[in-house]
């Protein structure tokens, strides 16, 4: 079956610095896939290449079998790609509800309407509110985003990505910066993601990785070191070396 997301020979260089080296990667439909690796391995760079925020030096990116390498970020989102950022990228001055409504409005294609005010607008708002209820932040719907604690803001970040109804969801360290008392909700949400979405999660927290992932890819210095089922990865001495090495050098 065609992978939901695939990269072939993906490369990115900044002058002499190679941040992505010949990455051949496939994400199956319905996957629960984790991307791990030491700091600076290029995991976020990889995500940025997939979403189009960074332009690849060479190689191809396919979404659902379609070559999207030359498409803009917006076009890729329209083809079912959604992501969260490592550090929240939200509309700080708008309310929680407005944040999510913007995303759903774009998805529905009504965001460019200049003259309709109510009407098609209401359904969008209702869907946004329902999403907030599912994530249990509905009672803060009208609060300005910057007033919320970071952990709650992170939920809005995830809500926006979910609101896009993506076929491929890229989560960049979803629990990062969230105090452990609040991360339970996030972990629950990730557990309950619809089965048909292909999910790639970047994470450092190994508990989360092993709880969630059915497949793991290890990225080191911009290249894939190895890939396999969690048990294989956990047992492989090379992985421990990469992480132990990191711990020794701090």
């Amino acid at each position: 079956m065609t992978p939901a997301l695939e990269t072939r020979g993906l490369q990115k260089s900044f002058g002499a610095l190679r941040v992505a080296q010949d990455i051949n990667f496939a994400l199956e439909v319905g996957a629960r896939h984790a991307l791990i690796g030491p700091n600076g391995a290029g995991k976020t760079t990889f995500i940025n290449l997939i979403t189009g925020r960074l332009k690849a030096s060479s190689g191809r990116i396919m979404l659902g079998g379609e070559d999207v390498t030359s498409l803009t970020q917006e076009a890729r989102v329209k083809r079912g790609l959604g992501r969260t950022f490592q550090i929240n990228q939200l509309f700080k001055g708008l309310s929680v509800l407005e944040n999510v409504t913007l995303a759903i409005g774009e998805r529905e294609g009504v965001a460019g309407d200049m003259f309709r005010v109510a009407g098609s607008h209401r359904a969008v708002v209702e869907e946004a509110y329902a999403l907030l209820e599912r994530l249990r932040i509905a009672d803060e719907a009208e609060r300005t985003l910057r007033e919320l604690p970071y952990g709650r803001q992170r939920l809005v970040e995830i809500a926006i990505a979910l609101g896009l109804r993506p076929k491929v969801l890229l989560l960049d360290e979803p629990a990062a910066g969230v105090p452990s008392t609040e991360s339970a909700i996030i972990l629950d949400i990730i557990d309950q993601l619809p089965a048909e979405i292909a999910v790639l999660i970047i994470e450092h927290d190994m508990d989360l990785v092993f709880r969630f992932a059915k497949r793991i890819t290890v990225l080191v210095q911009g290249a894939i070191l190895l890939e396999g089922a969690p048990a294989e990865i956990a047992a492989d001495p090379r992985v421990r070396e990469v992480y132990l090495g990191e711990r020794q050098h701090g």
């Binding site: 917006e74 990228q89 509309f91 009504v110 309407d113 109510a118 708002v125 509110y129 926006i160």
Partner: protein
């Protein structure tokens, strides 16, 4: 009264509030209370409309421009040149003025909105200086430094002559302002307007939710150019003169200051800032221009340092404080 659900509150946020009638009541009252100052009133209405157009692109979309007078000037000169060369009917000429300004806005927006930050600012400056120099040198068309003279504007609706007391001018520009305001209000409350706010707040996020960012910005820029052009056209028609200053950096700066004083991105900043500025200028600049300039500069510095949202911003903060005290 039962509190609205968040959904209802959002869906109804565009509903008219009672205080939105105030500016119009004040404008109508002004006609009867200050019959000797109708010309000033006319200038104020033009400035409000111009400031509204700038608010769309600056306050809502977040694009800092020092060159908005370019579109104002294009509109003014278009309306003026039409009136000199036989097209005397004002309202159709106004439509043409707005359209041509819009085309200039569309083309320049397509070109320059690929850049951002200082480069974009410089490009907007380059455009306004380019057009000013062009207007200056093409004196066979524009009258150059002496200004465009010989405009002949026909009566509005065929019946209301532009008289020398400024009565027709007052209602004409107020009417155009009203239409412009209705349009802006609908636009700002529409999903399009909301997405402009999103672009201003976090353009990275907007890209990541599939927004065609550049297309929205260019559209907003072109629309704002149309409105600015209409404002320029009204000025030309009501004063029956077009001087070089309509397309100057000084005019861009003045309208920017008016908007800042009132408060950007809140639609009504224009309605507060423009009258305050122009009335103050009318009173102070005549008696002592140096004095006016100095205090204007000082006020600007103070607003930037302590009251960035302008009058409306300060008002909002006060309201929030009072609401918190009550609860």
């Amino acid at each position: 009264m039962k509190k609205l659900s968040p959904i209802d509150a959002m869906v109804r946020s565009h509903r008219l509030r009672w205080w939105e009638a105030l500016p119009w009541l004040a404008a109508v009252a002004g006609y009867f209370l200050y019959p000797d100052h109708l010309a000033l009133g006319n200038q104020i209405f033009v400035a409000v409309l111009f400031a509204l157009s700038l608010d769309l692109i600056l306050g809502y979309a977040g694009i800092v421009t020092l060159g908005h007078a370019a579109f104002f000037g294009v509109g003014a000169y278009t309306a003026g040149i039409l009136a000199v060369h036989g097209w005397h009917e004002p309202m159709t000429a106004l439509v043409v003025a707005g359209a041509i300004a819009g085309v200039v806005g569309l083309i320049s927006g397509l070109i320059i909105l690929r850049t951002h930050g200082l480069t974009l600012l410089m490009l907007t400056l380059a455009i306004v200086f380019m057009l000013e120099e062009l207007a200056n040198k093409a004196s066979w068309l524009t009258g150059g430094a002496d200004g465009l003279q010989g405009m002949s504007v026909a009566p509005v609706f065929g019946a209301f002559r532009f008289d020398m007391f400024g009565r027709t001018a007052y209602w004409y520009s107020l009417g155009v302002l009203f239409v412009g305001w209705v349009f802006m209000r609908i636009l700002v409350h529409s999903p399009f307007g909301r997405s402009l706010t999103g672009i201003r707040e976090n353009v990275v996020r907007m890209h990541a939710i599939g927004t065609p960012v550049r297309k929205r910005l260019v559209t907003a820029y072109a629309i704002s150019a149309v409105i600015a052009g209409v404002a320029g056209g009204v000025l030309a028609q009501t004063t029956q003169f077009v001087g070089l200053n309509v397309v100057s950096f000084e005019r861009s700066g003045a309208i920017l200051i008016m908007l800042i004083f009132g408060g950007v991105g809140r639609l009504y900043g224009a309605f507060l800032g423009a009258p305050i500025y122009m009335i103050a200028e009318d009173e102070l600049a005549k008696s002592d221009p140096v004095y006016w300039f100095f205090w204007l500069g000082l006020l600007l510095v103070l607003v930037v340092m302590f009251a960035r949202g302008g009058v409306l911003g300060v008002g909002e903060q006060a309201l929030r404080y009072l609401r918190r005290k009550r609860s």
